[in-house]
Symmetry: C2
Amino acid sequence: MSIRIGIFGYGNLGRGVESAIRQNEDMTLAAVFTRRAPETLKIKTEGVPVLHADEVEKMTSEIDVMILCGGSATDLPVQTPELARHFNVIDSFDTHARIPEHFAAVDAAAKESGKVGIISVGWDPGMFSLNRLYGGAILPDGEDYTFWGRGVSQGHSDAIRRIEGVRNAKQYTIPVDSALEAVRRGDAPALTTREKHTRECFVVAEEGADLCRIEREIKEMPNYFADYDTTVHFITEEELARDHSGIPHGGFVIRSGKTGFDLENSHVIEYSLKLDSNPEFTASVIVAYARAAYRMAAEGQTGCKTVLDVPPAYICRESADELRRKLL
Amino acid sequence: MSIRIGIFGYGNLGRGVESAIRQNEDMTLAAVFTRRAPETLKIKTEGVPVLHADEVEKMTSEIDVMILCGGSATDLPVQTPELARHFNVIDSFDTHARIPEHFAAVDAAAKESGKVGIISVGWDPGMFSLNRLYGGAILPDGEDYTFWGRGVSQGHSDAIRRIEGVRNAKQYTIPVDSALEAVRRGDAPALTTREKHTRECFVVAEEGADLCRIEREIKEMPNYFADYDTTVHFITEEELARDHSGIPHGGFVIRSGKTGFDLENSHVIEYSLKLDSNPEFTASVIVAYARAAYRMAAEGQTGCKTVLDVPPAYICRESADELRRKLL
């Protein structure tokens, strides 16, 4: 009676899902799907088939929930609705501005097939969204703040790597302590982009490259760096590998608000994450919500859901009785 | 199309609910019920009837959700099931050990009447329970920790007041910083009661009372103080009124856990509250969940629920579309 999980796409997130499944006794990995040649892919779980993405429809009766581990830019907008025609699906689609349109596409496909899809699962969107919801509903007269970091931003690291003369790079997003403290005190400050986060870059330059130009190009890059205080460190490839090979991340969602007949009392709700591995934590959230997708489908629900719709108890292995007794 | 709320019991929590209703435009206060003589009770909202508790059944068609604001020791175990025969109800029942039996009583009554009851709403039980659930489901290989304070414990303050020679008292529960820090670092320490919290007491003694005896009786009181490092300060009634008239509280729920094929990565999830007014914050949580009770009842659901069962979006005024667009 194990929940049979399929992994569609086997990068950092796919490996995180594979590892998270081992931590959940009520789940088994049924198959991994890849667009590469399946025989070139070595997974960590013995006896589990690795199949080409084109063969996915042969496996409809072997998989209870398909977890999509592709990227939000081009993979998920196509794959999630397509797979929702055959499977209960779950993804971590994280292009905030395009969530409504992705939701509509997955909802239409899943309603037609009678399946459940849960999209945008992870920590932001995901757990951070949930905390923005709870904070805002409880303290309607208030402000909320999201800070990210200290952590590696893949998008910003990639942007630096595209600069001429850069061989490799890693970028950290760092919340500004004084801003965090002001928010925690309940000051409800109005903060500019520059006041909330700084950016720190570790760059490996090619031999003989013009470091001044590289640094200037980074700091002046619109959208990515121009609105931030950015520091640039040039280091060697060895130093990068030694000190910056992890993928840590984290952040803070803080709601400060007032209550009372004269709004005389202040309250601060803070949720924070400190993560050694961003993809493994994201995968752990997804795997918990795969359990919810399975249960909602078993109840006969269909269509697209998000973490905002899922009753919390559905993500737990324990029965409702047990949860009330142990956690409430 | 406002949600019409009744308040049953008008102490600190009842007043908090009255004030929270003003912060939620989709709600109106329909009536306040009291066991005192109604004419002796002065509420803050004009034009709203104050009725005797015995008259509650006359108001079944005027109230969408009844919020019970009595105590967990003797009021709620009787009142919540009784009122669930006629109303959708919500309470903040907080005797953790007796929640299963309270749940069963409210569930039976609400299923018979076709109403919805949501019990044990507030911050602990309530938001803290939710965070224990989310943390445990996401990081199954881990430990969770709940710390309370710095805040006033009503039960402990009352216990001190019962000692001979004590005129008045206020007790603060304080989390031990070094324990909090160890948990935040992911050390997953095993902590004794004494290592997690200290207790600080501000006591007004009667003239001529034996202060040494009072201090000893406090510190040796079983269950309440004997297992803690307790400090006792004797102060005047004026000082108590000046410095200790508030009802602040708060605390921390922290989950630390590991992921990875060799459990090589650590993660820390922390949720914390810093509250100027414990009853007003509790009331704010209850009022948000009253909205969920109203919606679940409108959908035809019946029986007893807790925060663990309620889809998060149900506690918000905004539509599901709007929430996805703005919060996800």
